[in-house]
Amino acid sequence: MQDTYSYIMLIGAALFNLLIFPGGLFALGLGVLFKGLDRKIEARLQRRVGPPVIQPIIDIIKLSGKEAMIPETAQRPLFQSAPLIGFIGMAVCAALLPIPGVSGGLPYMGDMLVYFYLLQLPAVALMIAGSSSSSPFGTLGFSREMTLMFAYEIPLLMIILAVAMKVGGSNFAEFSLMNIISYQEEHGQFITNWVMIPAFLAYLFFLPGTMGVPPFDIPEAETEIVEGPLLEYSGASLALFQLTSAIKNIVVLGFGVVIFFPMTLGGNIAVNILWFAFKCFVLMLISCTFIKSATGRFRIEQAFGFYLKIPAVLALISLVLVWFNF
C-alpha cells in the first residue's frame, strides 16, 4: 500500500515536472516571453519600433488555427512526425532542468549526458523535416543543419566533459546536474573560476549556433534558402516548430546557468525563480540578442571553421586545465 502510494506520488511529481514546472507550461511561457523580448530589444537596437512582446504568442495561436498543408511529394509520416520529435525532446529536456533553489527537475534523471543527446533532437527534427519535405531548399537546409550540428557539438561535448571532470575530481567525472549545483554552492560558481572561463566563453559561442540566430542561422537562412527545412511547413506543425524553438531557448540558457552560475538568492522560491529567469535573460542578451544585431551571417564552411578554431579551442583549454587539476 505504501509502495503504491509513493509510486503514484512519483508519477505525479514526474507529470508535474513534465507538464507544469519546470517543463511544460513554465518553460513554454518563459520561452515565448523571451522570444518576444528578444524581438523587441533587437528592434530597438535597430531603431525600429518592433512587434509587441506577445507577438510570438499571437503567431503561435494564429498558426495553430490554420490548415496544415502537406506537399504531395513529401513523405507524409516523417514529414508529420518531425515537429513532434523535436518538441518531445525539448519538453523532456525542460522537465529535466533543475532550477537552483527551487526544483531538482525530474528525479534521478538530471544528467548532462542525457542532456547532450536530447539537445540534438530539435536539430535532428529539422533534418528530418528538411529531407522529408522533398523540397530542394529543405535538402540544402538538411545538409547545412547537419554540418552546423557537428560543428557546435564538438565544443559542447568538451564543455560538458570539462564541467564533469571538474566536479568529479578524483572520481573522474560527475554528470548529475544536481551534484554540479551543490559542488558550485560549496566551491564557488564556475564563472568565477579562471579554469572554467574559457569553457564559459565557448558556451557563449555554442548558444547562437544551437538557437539558430545570426551569425549561425545558416540552415534557415531566409535570403538564401527561404527558411530551408521550414519552408513547406504551415499551420499547427509550424507552430510546433516555433514552440520547440521557444522551449529550446530556455533549455540551453538554463543549462548554461546551471553549469556556470547557479547561485541562488536565499531560500524564497519565487525570488529564486525570478532570479533564474533573470540570469537566463542576461545570458540570452549577451549571446544572442546583441550578437545578432551586430553581425551578418556566415557561410556554412566559415561557420564550421569558426567553431573548430575558436569555441573548440577554448573548451579544450578548460578541459586540459581541468585534466591537470588546476
Binding site: R297, F298, R299
Partner: protein
C-alpha cells in the same frame, strides 16, 4: 527526374521568380552539387508589360509619364533620356538652368538608389542592423525628394524642353543641410563596409568577373567600374552640364561583389559633390521652352543611370506619336554576365551576386 537518370549527385534548385532576396521577379534554375552551383539557367519575362508598344500609342507628352513608370529606382533617368532623345530629334535647346536642375534630380536619385542597393547587400548577408542604418541614411535623400519634388520615387521632374520645377533659396538651404548629414553618415558607412570582417568575409572574392569579361559582355555601370573598367557616360560622352562639373570616376580593382558595393558607396559621395557644386550656382533662365513641331526622323540619347549606361532611340514620322521608341537598359547586359559571376559559386552567394549587379527587372522586361 533528369538527375535520377544520370545518377549524379547534382540536383536542381529553383530560385525565384518570387524570392525574398530578389527585389524583383527573376527566375534562376540552379544545378547544384552539394552547396556548389554547377550551372545557371536564367529565365526572364515575368513583368513584361508591353511598354514599347504602349509608347507608340501615346503622344510625346504622355510618353514622359510612361517612361517614368518603367522602373522606380531609375525613374528619373528614363524620362530624362527620353526627353534628351526627343530634344535631339527636334533640335530643342534646353536652358542652362534646366540642365543644372536635371543634374540635381539625377544625382539625388543616384545617391538614394546606390544606398538602397548597398542596404540590400547587408540584408542578404543577414546583417539587419546595418540594413536598417543604411536605409535610414537613404531616408534623408527620400525626404529631399519629397520636399523638393513632392514625391518619394517618381519625381516627375522632366518635360520635353526642360524641367517642371525650380528650387528656391529655402529649398537650397534644406538640400545643403541634408547633404551635410548624408555625407557624414555615408563616410561612416563606407568605413563599415570597407573594414567590417563579416562583410569582407562574405563579399570579397565572390562573384568575380575579370576586366576582359566585362568588355566581352559589354557590362556597364558600377559592375564594370568594380572591375576597373573606366566606363561612365557622364565622363566618356558628357551630356547636360556634366563636362563642366568636377567629379571623379570611381573604380575599384577587386572585380568582386565587395568592390561593386564600394564603387556604389564612393559614387554617392561624388554625387553629393556634384550637387554641392551646382546647387549654389544655378544659372538664371527659363525652366522650359515652347515645344516646336517634332519632325520626322530618328534620334538617340545616352545617359548614366544609377545602374549604368541607358540608351534611348526614337523614330518619328511627323505625327505627335513616336513610330518607335526603344530603350536599352544597363541591367540587360549586366544580367547576362551573371553566368560568369555565378560559375562555381556557393548557393549562399547566389542572391548576393544577383544583387551585386543591382538588377532592374522591370526596366529590362518593361
Amino acid at each position: 527526374m533528369e538527375t535520377k537518370q544520370h545518377e549524379t549527385k547534382s540536383f536542381s534548385l529553383p530560385l525565384g521568380p518570387i524570392h525574398v532576396a530578389l527585389e524583383e521577379p527573376m527566375y534562376f534554375k540552379l544545378e547544384l552539387e552539394g552547396e556548389r552551383v554547377k550551372h545557371v539557367d536564367i529565365t526572364s519575362g515575368h513583368v513584361h508589360r508591353g511598354m514599347e508598344l504602349l509608347a507608340t500609342k501615346r503622344n510625346f507628352f504622355q510618353n514622359v509619364v510612361l517612361t517614368e513608370r518603367v522602373c522606380s529606382l531609375c525613374s528619373n533617368s528614363h524620362p530624362l533620356t527620353y526627353c534628351l532623345a526627343v530634344e535631339n530629334l527636334a533640335g530643342i535647346q534646353v536652358s542652362p538652368k534646366a540642365q543644372a536642375l536635371r543634374v540635381l534630380a539625377e544625382e539625388i536619385k543616384r545617391t538614394a538608389s546606390h544606398l538602397f542597393n548597398v542596404a540590400i547587400l547587408a540584408h542578404i548577408i543577414g546583417y539587419k542592423s546595418l540594413f536598417m542604418h543604411v536605409m535610414e541614411v537613404r531616408e534623408i535623400m527620400q525626404d529631399v525628394k519629397e520636399t523638393v519634388y513632392g514625391n518619394r520615387m517618381d519625381l516627375a521632374a522632366n518635360c520635353i524642353g526642360g524641367v517642371k520645377y525650380s528650387v528656391n533659396l529655402e529649398l537650397i538651404e534644406f538640400i545643403e543641410k541634408s547633404l551635410v548629414r548624408t555625407e557624414k553618415h555615408i563616410k561612416e558607412i563606407i568605413d563599415i563596409y570597407a573594414t567590417d570582417k563579416m562583410i569582407l568575409r562574405r563579399t570579397t572574392n565572390v562573384g568575380r568577373i575579370s576586366a576582359e569579361d566585362v568588355i566581352k559582355y559589354g557590362l556597364v555601370g558600377p559592375v564594370a567600374r568594380g572591375s576597373n573598367v573606366r566606363i561612365d557616360t557622364r565622363k566618356t560622352a558628357p551630356y547636360l552640364i556634366y563636362d563642366q562639373l568636377d567629379f571623379d570616376m570611381i573604380t575599384e580593382t577587386g572585380c568582386d561583389v565587395h568592390s561593386r558595393a564600394m564603387v556604389r558607396l564612393r559614387e554617392t559621395l561624388e554625387s553629393i559633390k556634384i550637387i554641392k557644386q551646382i546647387i549654389r550656382n544655378i544659372p538664371e533662365g527659363e525652366l522650359n521652352t515652347l515645344l516646336p513641331h517634332i519632325p520626322a526622323g530618328e534620334a538617340m540619347a545616352r545617359s548614366e543611370a544609377p545602374r549604368g549606361e541607358l540608351f534611348y532611340y526614337v523614330r518619328t514620322d511627323g505625327t505627335d506619336m513616336p513610330l518607335r521608341l526603344k530603350w536599352r537598359v544597363p541591367s540587360y547586359m549586366n544580367w547576362d554576365a551573371l553566368e560568369v559571376m555565378m560559375k562555381d559559386c556557393e548557393v549562399a552567394d547566389v542572391s548576393l551576386i544577383v544583387n551585386s549587379i543591382d538588377p532592374c527587372v522591370s526596366c529590362t522586361e518593361r
